[in-house]
Symmetry: C2
């Protein structure tokens, strides 16, 4: 079975072909430019690949409401040329196949549930903590949508008592993304996160913010696995700090073995590594094929 997958990122597009076992057989990447030239590259890649369906995990915000006239569009992004762009419609002119369509983080959650850190589980939450913060929620075997897709990177969090940083979010100032995304780290400490030593106090503060988000998502949707990815989470020293902080926050309230005694295998990095994004697209493509 040949399934097409697209990981549409803010700076880079990755396209690939994979199968129903999650194996990526072929891949290509190119920079994200204006939609016309970018989509020409996408169409050129898939044109002789024989994909039975194509799954797209993309930067957003996007319209995911199947009943909406603008389903399959990118909506209000500040990225030049992409606001109001008909992503699926453009591809449909060249490929008469079912399309899967969701945010990059929802796709990553689905991919990790299919073949990665949450394999075999019917629920997980995927956070990406990098240039921005996003969250994908997979619950009872389905990605969670509602009015729009989750925007959990912008939840309101408590300020760390030693943190005088005002926050970088243009909408909310000191929301989670404003305080804990990569650019906030850099603005607060005046040096790139990747250049801060492992034992720098920046990481305890970072863990404090991320742990609040994780605590609240555990209390809200009770995922069976919490997966933390993205550039900031390449700092592996964060994992034990976040686990400890979450344990302290919950204080024994959620009486479940996975949380109380197996935290090391509960809050984890993505298992699909550099293929996480593309695998998410693949999982969406497979889902679209099954639904068709």
């Amino acid at each position: 079975m040949r399934i097409g997958a697209i990981e549409a990122g803010g700076t880079k597009f990755v396209c690939g072909i994979g199968n129903e076992e999650g194996i990526i057989e072929d891949r290509i990447h190119f920079p994200t430019e204006q939609p016309e030239s970018t989509m020409a590259n996408v169409i050129n890649y898939f044109k002789d690949k024989g994909a039975l369906s194509i799954g797209i995990g993309t930067f957003g915000p996007i319209d995911i409401d199947r009943t909406s006239p603008t389903y399959g569009y990118v909506t209000t992004t500040p990225k030049p040329g992409w606001a109001g762009f008909d992503f699926i419609g453009t591809l449909r002119k060249s490929f008469d196949v079912p399309f899967g369509w969701d945010t990059d983080v929802n796709a990553a959650a689905l991919g990790e549930a299919a073949w990665g850190a949450a394999k075999g589980l019917d629920s997980c939450v995927y956070y990406t903590i990098g240039t921005g913060i996003g969250v994908g929620i997979y619950a009872d075997g389905k990605l969670v949508h509602g009015l729009v897709h989750p925007e959990g990177g912008h939840i309101l969090t408590r300020r760390h008592p030693d943190d005088g940083f005002e926050g970088l979010c243009p909408y909310h100032g000191d929301c989670l993304e404003g305080m804990a995304a990569g650019p906030a780290l850099e603005a607060r400490w005046k040096v790139k996160g990747s250049e801060l030593p492992e034992n720098h106090p920046a990481w305890a503060m970072e863990a404090f913010y991320i742990a609040q988000a994780v605590t609240n998502i555990i209390l809200t949707v009770s995922p069976k696995k919490v997966i933390l990815g993205g550039g900031v989470m390449k700092q592996k020293q964060l994992f034990p700090m976040i686990r400890e902080e979450v344990r302290r926050n919950l204080n024994g309230y959620v009486n479940n073995g996975a949380i109380l005694s197996r935290m090391d295998s509960y809050i984890v990095p993505p298992a699909l590594g550099d293929n996480a994004g593309l695998s998410g697209g693949l999982a969406l493509g497979l889902e679209a094929l099954r639904r068709s």
Copy 2:
């Protein structure tokens, strides 16, 4: 069609018979005592009612994992006699019918989606703000479960700048429930909430806390309707204050008409009034029958 419904509350049990249109045809209530005497009353009520299924919305925490040997049990409640009680197993000895089983707040969310404020929608969130704070989440046509059920009353919220109250939660001190449930209101202002005048500053502070929970749930699961019930929400003056605070918190970030311009019909009281709990049980019973 005759469907049985149970609203199992901490102080009161309500049992009833209803139909597939959500009409409650008969009801009875009695105090919550030890499980033996309480369940004897339940069994006595249903024994000649000819219910095709029975749905139970109950106080918790409860085991909702169908694969668990203790599915259908109340788990760790401090309520005397009820910790580890096999609720469904006890009823099954008398009634060979399918059982629906969920938390009281999940049941209320389902009932409101079937016949109430979220009728016709495939997602909503139901908060009860009373003696405690609980949340039920209905997303993409299903109640959300995971490791356990949502415990969103205990999320960490920011402290109001004028609030020196330490919080009442035995686990978390100043979590949402610790700061904004009825007992917290009473402990902070030294008078029952119901005796505070409408224009008392207590309500602005209360709205501040509830609005944070609503803001975060909008960003996290993006419900199509937010329903606020429970004793504290009988204070109708809270609704406009909460809507305004949520609008301020989101600051235009979630670009959707329901939120930006129709907030009055987005954050609403339950439509089922005093029947909300029993209707939830009825909806669970109906779901159990359809699944069987």
